[in-house]
């Protein structure tokens, strides 16, 4: 799509749904100087593994990579909270010249003795990739010495984008899978992949599954525990949310342990219900299906009257979406529809071609679909579409606010539970409490309209 806001080299990454057949460029390196909203490979690995609460997460690199990811996610734990600390080897000039392996070894020994974790993840950063520290060898050595799994995460920042980081995280977890005891696991059992227990969401999802009669073996990775991941190959089914992050692990488990997987989303009424139905259907047991039906009916009938209050107020308002993974965007499009709002722009940092095709199918004509966007484009789209509410993360928020547009935080440090049936109500309330705030009367954009 051509527009003054779009760099020549990025025009293929923006599509306006309409007369022309769908086409979009995606899954490529960010363009230099484009001010992408994306982070790096390390970021991808760090966010996926972060919620594993009884593991040590040691960032091998200069201090920045560790400080910018300290306590960065609202991923709650029901027990240990080791994941909320920020550990770094804090590489100095001499380490860069002479190599950081010794420091890494000693740091690992020190931290493992101090915190007694169940496993340790060692994240590689840009510089480690350049100076060539042998992470594998150090991890093997410390694994032997301390008798816990010490796992290298090959997440050098420059070796691709966030998706490569997801893959590196899955590779590290794959080494844990298959090393635990799988006794006493029900035949109606699942692993939950790709939910990170933001604001406690996985607890709600687990409760739904348990009510239906399905055992959850491992949370991967929200409120995650090493021992659970080690025995996760004993589950009968992998239920995968979040398109990019954990599908690689599910695929590996399918190949090695023949565990099938289902892709779901817990966000929004439609998708939440579909998730429960499809899991129940998978086990082909009428009792499970019956319980799922009952649960959904109960939850939906409690939710809908509450929701309609918000729908009344929000009907016809325009929403724009820019999120990390496209899978979340699918659910958001449907969720906005449920509360009567029109999605006029939708984009993601790391969507694939298939993801964008699906977005094209579920959105209305005129919708702007964008891959790996930036403040210049996003602000231009918000203005062009005269958007009432933008949903995104921390870096998107000031774009909306500066322009006088309402905002819904759907990032990984949020404090509100947005998944599940009750999460849908929270979502509506979040949207409502920003869109309906009187503060917009005073921002220049709206003040002018009021004067007119």
């Amino acid at each position: 799509m051509k527009s003054a806001a779009i760099l020549e080299d990025r025009q293929g990454q923006v599509f306006r749904k309409g007369a022309e057949p769908f086409a979009i460029d995606c899954n490529k390196d960010s363009l230099a100087g484009a001010v992408s909203q994306r982070a790096c490979v390390f970021c991808g690995s760090r966010v996926v593994l972060y919620p594993i609460a009884d593991a040590l997460h040691l960032v091998h690199g200069p201090i920045g990579c560790a400080v910018y990811t300290w306590d960065i996610r609202g991923a709650l734990s029901s027990g240990p909270e080791l994941h909320r600390l920020s550990f770094s080897t804090d590489l100095q000039e001499m380490d860069v010249i002479f190599g950081g392996e010794k420091k890494l070894t000693r740091a690992l020994e020190e931290l493992i003795d101090r915190h007694q974790p169940k496993a340790a993840f060692v994240y590689s950063t840009c510089i480690v990739g350049i100076i060539g520290d042998d992470l594998e060898a150090v991890c093997r050595k410390v694994t032997k010495e301390k008798s816990i799994p010490v796992l290298p995460v090959q997440s050098e920042g420059f070796k691709g984008n966030k998706r490569a980081g997801y893959q590196a995280a899955c590779n590290a977890m794959a080494k844990l899978v298959g090393t635990g005891d799988t006794g006493n696991i029900s035949k109606y059992s699942i692993n939950i992949l790709g939910d990170f227990n933001l604001a406690g969401e996985i607890w709600l999802i687990r409760e739904y599954f348990q009510k239906i009669g399905i055992e959850v073996v491992a949370n991967i990775t929200g409120d995650g525990r090493i021992a659970d991941i080690q025995r996760s190959h004993g589950a009968a089914l992998n239920v995968v949310q979040c398109s990019g992050a954990t599908m690689d692990l599910a695929d590996m488990m399918k190949e090695k342990y023949s565990i099938p997987s289902l892709r779901v989303s817990y966000f929004g009424v439609e998708d939440m219900a579909a998730a429960l139905y499809s899991v129940a259907e998978h086990f082909n047991n009428p009792l499970l299906l019956e319980r799922a039906e009952k649960l959904i009916k109960q939850e939906v009938s409690a939710l809908m009257p509450e929701l309609s209050k918000y729908k009344e107020a929000l009907k016809g308002k325009k929403a724009a979406i820019y999120v990390g993974g496209a899978f979340k965007a699918f659910s958001l499009v449907k969720a906005f529809r449920l509360i009567g709002m029109d999605v006029v722009m939708v984009g993601s940092q790391t969507g694939t071609r298939e993801d964008y095709i699906e977005l094209d199918q579920i959105t209305d004509d005129g919708t702007i679909i964008v891959d790996d966007s930036n403040p210049l484009e996003l602000s231009a789209f918000l203005k062009e579409k005269d958007v009432d509410l933008f949903v995104g993360g921390v870096k998107e928020r000031p774009i909306a606010y500066k322009l006088g547009v309402a905002f819904c935080d759907h990032n990984h440090e949020r404090k509100e539970m947005l998944a599940g049936f009750s999460g849908m109500l929270n979502f509506a309330r979040e949207v409502y409490s920003s869109v309906m705030s009187p503060v917009w009367n005073f921002v220049p954009r709206r003040a002018k309209e009021i004067q007119k």
Binding site: A5, L7, D29, S30, L31, A32, G33, A34, V35, S36, R38, A39, C40, V41, F42, C43, P62, I63, G64, A66, V67, Y68, W70, R84, S86, F87, S88, T89, D90, L91, Q92, E93, V96, K103, R106, E110, C126, I127, I130, G157, F158, K159, G160, N374, P375, L376, S379, K383, V394, K395, R397, I399, Y401, K402, L403, G404, F442, P444, R445, K448
Partner: protein, 448 residues
């Protein structure tokens, strides 16, 4: 070096390019640009946004695997072209990262090539600074960027009546305060950097790719001709923008600590008074008087309380001096920086206040701080919001100052400097102590 531990837990410092990015954001028409992988720019944007609640677009050369092997020159040039075509900056501030420092990219050389290949009348000024993340903290990055700006942009200028103020990494409110103080003395000041508007701007009806404000380029170019440079900070490196101006342009340099608390503010105002040949303006005389009156009114609530101060060295030294003035006993002064000068700075700051010398530690993380505090009885923590988990765990009230403030609104509006800043600090500290006592009392007194 941290003598006790190998690893770092919950660092009390940030990385070097972050400081440079903030400094560049304080130049009018400037786009900060990180030469490295995409993640650095994005992480730092996110970190800075969470404090200022303001947009900050930091461009990146977005190096990939091939560039790491063959060098990042092509990406840097392409990135510059793209930024220029969309942002139309009058200046671009380039900071390196650990990646590009380690692969050995010669940025000044690449920039020369760039100007030869693509340069035109549209080409903005370009400043570059070396900021390897594995050496020093964000403060070295900040001071390094300011020094590079001066080194690379200041021209031989005729003598003029301006005064340069190199304020260090203070808040947006602090910069606004410094500006108004200079106006009160009728001093034409050049404050560098000035992110008081670029990182704390008004609501708009358009997204400002480059927000209004910042130190104007023309003023930077003539800084060499200024009457004097006042450089704030008690732990500054030997080579700074101030010494550069002094050496290359013979601009007289006055180095004084951050004007936090009465004595340091007095020293600052004395310097302005002698430079302008004017007396302390009435507004500030009154502010000083009110501050002292308030200190008298509140002294009993805080006398002898023990405080831990942590964060950037200059801020720690400044705050320690103020605490000594109001009768609070600093027991630990800690920083993740390692200038080697903090102890002397703290000693100077306490001078004459009859205050016991606190323990002073550099190059520490929050794990170290916590270990040290275990053996102490502490009533107050004073520092940025990254001390919150520690404060919560130990049920010690935290007074938020400096950067970053990630768990409260208005970090950019915190005023630390001058009599006005001391007044705000005094009220906040005293009220925090009173509130803590009130909340933990069985009675619930409704008078102080």
């Amino acid at each position: 070096m941290t003598a006790n531990y190998i690893s770092t837990t919950n660092a009390c410092k940030l990385c070097r390019p972050l400081g440079a990015s903030v400094a560049f954001r304080g130049i009018e028409g400037c786009v900060p640009f990180l030469h490295g992988s995409q993640g650095c720019a994005t992480y730092m944007r996110r970190y800075i946004i969470s404090h200022f609640n303001e947009p900050i677009d930091i461009a990146s050369s977005s190096l990939g695997e091939k560039n790491a092997i063959y060098g990042g020159a092509a990406n840097l040039k392409q990135g510059l072209e793209n930024v220029i075509s969309k942002y139309h900056p009058s200046i671009i501030g380039i900071a390196t990262t650990c990646l590009t420092e380690t692969i050995g990219d010669d940025v000044p050389h690449i920039l020369k090539e760039y100007v030869n290949e693509f340069g035109s009348s549209e080409t903005p000024a370009i400043v570059n600074v070396s900021t390897p993340s594995y050496s020093g903290s964000h403060m070295e990055g900040f001071h390094g960027a300011v020094k590079s700006i001066v080194e690379q942009l200041c021209e031989i200028a005729p003598a003029n009546e301006t005064v340069n103020i190199l304020s260090g990494f203070v808040s947006a409110a602090d910069i606004r305060y410094l500006k108004s103080v200079c106006e009160d003395f009728a001093i034409d000041s050049t404050i560098l950097p000035d992110f008081s508007e670029t990182l704390d701007g008004p609501a708009l009806d358009d997204y400002p790719l480059i927000p209004k404000g910042g130190t104007p380029l023309e003023k930077i170019r003539t800084m060499g001709g200024a009457r004097a440079t006042i450089e704030l900070g008690a732990t500054l490196p030997d080579d700074t923008a101030g010494t550069c101006l002094e050496k290359q342009h013979r601009t007289p340099l006055y180095r004084i600590g951050l004007p936090i608390g009465i004595r340091q503010t007095d020293a600052f105002f004395d310097t302005l008074a002698s430079l302008s040949n004017k007396q302390l303006p009435a507004r500030h005389m009154n502010a000083r008087g009110r501050l002292i009156d308030a200190m008298v009114d509140g002294h009993k609530y805080i006398f002898g309380r023990k405080a831990v101060i942590y964060g950037e060295e200059d801020l720690v030294a400044g705050l320690t001096g103020f605490l000594a003035e109001i009768g609070i006993q600093p027991v630990l002064c800690a920083s993740g920086g390692k200038s080697g000068m903090l102890k002397d700075a703290v000693t100077d700051a306490l001078g004459g206040m009859g205050c016991l010398m606190p323990e002073v530690v550099e190059d520490v993380d929050f794990y170290d701080i916590e270990e040290k505090v275990k053996a102490m009885k502490v009533d107050l923590l004073i520092g940025h919001s990254k001390g919150y988990s520690f404060a919560r765990k130990n049920n010690i009230p935290l007074i938020r100052v400096g950067f970053p403030i990630h768990d409260r609104v208005g970090g950019q509006r915190l005023l630390h400097l001058g009599y006005d800043g001391a007044q705000q600090l005094f009220d906040t500290i005293t009220n925090t102590v009173i509130a803590h006592k009130q909340d933990s009392s069985d009675v619930g007194y409704s008078y102080m």
